[in-house]
Amino acid sequence: MDAAGKEVLKVLTEILERKNNAGVYRGWLKFWNRNWERWLYAMHRITGVGVGIYLVAHIWETSYSATAFLDVSNGGSPVVWTNLMSFLSNEFFHTGLLLVALASVFHALNGVRLIFAEQGLMIGKVKPPTFPMIPSSLKGGQRYFGIAIVIISFILLVYAFYQLFIIGLGW
């Protein structure tokens, strides 16, 4: 390999080994002034981390409630269960559940969109780049799918509100 080739290889190696120093704030959280898909990407991360943290809390909560079901062949302890449910049945915890429902539905539907995108489905026809250099992958079904996901998430949020607040809390 000649000197020029070695120089090219050196530059390429440096690029490949470059670290991601953007971090949370300047990296994946900075979605304003970017396109719709970038916004969906940031929301996917935020909802994923949020629901993940909720799962750990939910497992702790259910492990506590499970004590009501010890010795269930002799009837268990319905009082322990009822007391826990009474403690959790209020506006504060139900608002939390509402946010978890919204985050879960959005994350799940957007996950399906990402699987489709990875498989090359609904990403628009590949074309040579021409002015104004908008990638064809950002047109077509993917864009509409992304919009539909947000609309469906908020429709299901209304249903979750009905279940948690109207039926659950008797508003």
Binding site: A66, V72, A108, Q163
Partner: protein
């Protein structure tokens, strides 16, 4: 295991969560006779004894998906062989403990643990 295989598992567990999570939400709402009825002692016991195995499968999918997701997010924030290894093992240990703790709950509901 190759990263592409791990990512494939992430997609498959995601689809599994979509199916079982829909069942979980349905059982807590319309299929359970409304939220108030679904969280009654007898209703919860009935659901767990009927769908206990599916809940265990749900827990497997969730633990993998969430802790592999955490690993990916953390590995994007900072790079380095030692850092990546530390994050991987931390996720394996915390994820494993979460899975075992959740399994204990399901076994109590199923009457296997007294």
């Amino acid at each position: 295991m190759r990263q592409s295989r791990l990512m494939l598992l992430q997609y498959l567990t995601g689809l599994g969560i979509l199916a079982l999570g829909s069942l979980h939400f349905a059982l807590l709402s319309f299929a359970g006779g409304g939220y108030s009825n679904a969280i009654q002692f007898a209703s919860v016991l009935s659901v767990y004894t009927t769908f206990g195995v599916l809940f265990e499968l749900f827990l497997v999918f969730l633990t993998w998906h969430i802790f592999y997701g955490f690993r990916r997010v953390l590995c994007e924030l900072h790079q380095g062989r030692r850092y990546e290894s530390t994050v991987t093992w931390a996720m394996v240990i915390i994820g494993g403990a979460t899975f075992l703790w959740g399994t204990r709950t399901i076994l109590i509901f199923l009457g296997v643990l007294h």
